[in-house]
Subunit: 332 residues, 2 copies
């Protein structure tokens, strides 16, 4: 029998916990402190990030590593990318030897530019690292918590581990596809947030669906170029973990990264927007990490460059837009 531990009391971690426990899988969420575990248990829901979604009886919350991980066959990390390494170090010695570590994190480590699988192979013994899986796709958490239908992709170098995760997560409303392209699935989920920021800017400026669709098209081409240079399969970017996630994120009112862009279009300061949010907008860190990757790999990324300057160098949004639109169109 599968038993799942979820590291992280984030919106997405809580949603996966709900989905699994509704599906009959025993789940334990690992909270950071006794207070947090107690608060969640007493409330019977995650009042901060997912109010109104009651925990089923087979969903437990603890702050004790052993309680959460001792019998876990799958350990899901659903934490912000900038604290992924710290969390791995924390749980490392409590992970059962046969467990599968599954990343539900969509981002890159800003300081190193590393993908989560790279962090895992640096931090965990090879035996665990070999079974690593990543989950990504068009998965706006709130819709899934409400039971609306969605599809996702689980990628691993270990086909057995991918199938194990697929069977565990699959439900009538949550379709899970497997894939062996870890690099592509990780980069698709991370890089699409750069394009979501720009889509939010387009929305904030009132540019309409034509302009946003054209921007998303150019954006997908740009992040696919980087992904392929980093070793990803281009087909992954045309699939659920690339195009699918991009479309959902750039379309939805629920996307935090799209929201940040919308606020930037109003002329607000990036730091002020970010510090006013209760949730992390991964796209900001990812933009910085992706720009460094693109420079190392020699890939031209005009959208990422301009977004970086808006976020970190004080470039005005209108100036950014006119730089991007000023590029002469020739052949497609």
């Amino acid at each position: 029998l599968n038993r799942v531990a979820i590291v992280g009391t984030t919106t997405w971690g809580t949603t996966l916990a709900l989905n699994l426990s509704r599906n009959g899988v025993p789940v334990t969420i690992l909270a950071r402190s006794q207070e947090e575990a107690q608060q969640l248990t007493t409330a019977g829901e995650n009042s901060r990030f997912l109010p109104g979604a009651a925990f089923p009886p087979n969903l437990f919350v603890t702050h004790q590593l052993t309680d959460a991980l001792e019998k876990a066959s799958i350990a899901i990390l659903a934490v912000p990318s900038q604290s992924f390494r710290k969390n791995l170090k924390w749980i490392k010695d409590s992970l059962p030897a046969e467990s599968v570590v599954l990343s539900a994190t969509k981002g890159l480590e800003m300081e190193t530019g590393r993908r989560m699988s790279q962090v895992v192979s640096e931090e965990l013994p090879d035996k665990l690292s070999r079974r690593y899986c990543v989950l990504s796709g068009p998965n706006l958490a709130k819709e899934i918590a409400e039971g609306k239908p969605a599809s996702t992709v689980v990628a691993s170098r270990s086909p057995e581990s991918a199938v194990q995760v697929q069977k565990t997560l699959m439900s009538p409303t949550f379709r899970v596809y497997t894939n062996n392209d870890v690099v592509g699935v990780e980069l698709g989920g991370a890089l699409k947030n750069i394009i979501a920021l720009g889509s939010g800017i387009s929305d904030g400026l009132g540019y309409g669906d034509n302009a946003k669709a054209a921007f998303m098209t150019r954006g997908l081409a740009e992040i696919t170029r980087l992904g392929v240079a980093a070793g990803a399969n281009p087909a992954t970017f045309a699939g659920l973990a690339g195009l699918g996630d991009l479309v959902a994120t750039c379309s939805s009112r629920l996307s935090r990264n799209r929201y940040v862009g919308e606020e930037l279009a109003k002329g607000r300061d990036p730091q002020e927007v970010l510090s006013s949010m209760d949730n992390v907008a991964e796209g900001v860190y990812t933009t910085a990490a992706a720009l460094r990757m693109s420079q190392n790999l020699g890939i031209d990324m005009p959208i990422t460059q301009v977004t970086y300057r808006v976020l970190f160098k004080g470039l005005a949004v209108k100036q950014a837009v006119s730089e991007l639109m000023g590029r002469p169109p020739t052949t497609e």
Copy 2:
């Protein structure tokens, strides 16, 4: 100096006329009757399809072939695909020998399954047919009429003609890219409407952005398969005339095809929905034509098949959805 004739008083034809005349290009719209020409001229706008967008002084409307076409360097056909051939026959003898015929029609001839370029090569002399161009992309007409930014693609076997159209249509808010893949640009614009119908169904059923994004991803893969089998370049389907147009159409409240799907999801009868609309929903004819194409070319198109049965064979929408979602997911 370019002088443009526009055949068709449709929303899109009128929008292109406005865009060109605002751009300083003299434009004449060819209406079907003296009454219609008079009505449009007197109103100084297209009250039926684009109310509130006043005609600039260099935009004329006539019902006389010679007045419209005699000095036209570019003749744009912006008519429904089912009347494209009839309109070609009508204007054929009035087209100047050196003119460029540009199709702004996004659809397939239902009876024959032909693309508009095939209709042109059957109806026009080779000298005109060789310069044929097609215009397609994420171009919701109302947004363009309002002056919102947009991009589009013009494709032709004649690079000179494509560049001539590009230079004529290009404006600060309307970016025109050229491409030599006539088949891909025509099929992208036509086939995406099948996916727009299904996206509308998804919206109508309240499925949310995750499900719609997954559907659009599968849909783009399906229409790309057909396009490539028909001789298109797969890159065209990843570009503005494929992905771009798909995203704009499936996202927008303005799309007629998406609207039809939304109404079908309410359980309304397809014929009743269509006959209640003032505008043509091209996707309905295109679904039938594409299904025949797919059978001739031996391509599996599950979405198109199910959509066809909903539109023409009385299949209930819920049954259609459960057939599509019931396919077991394996590897991506």
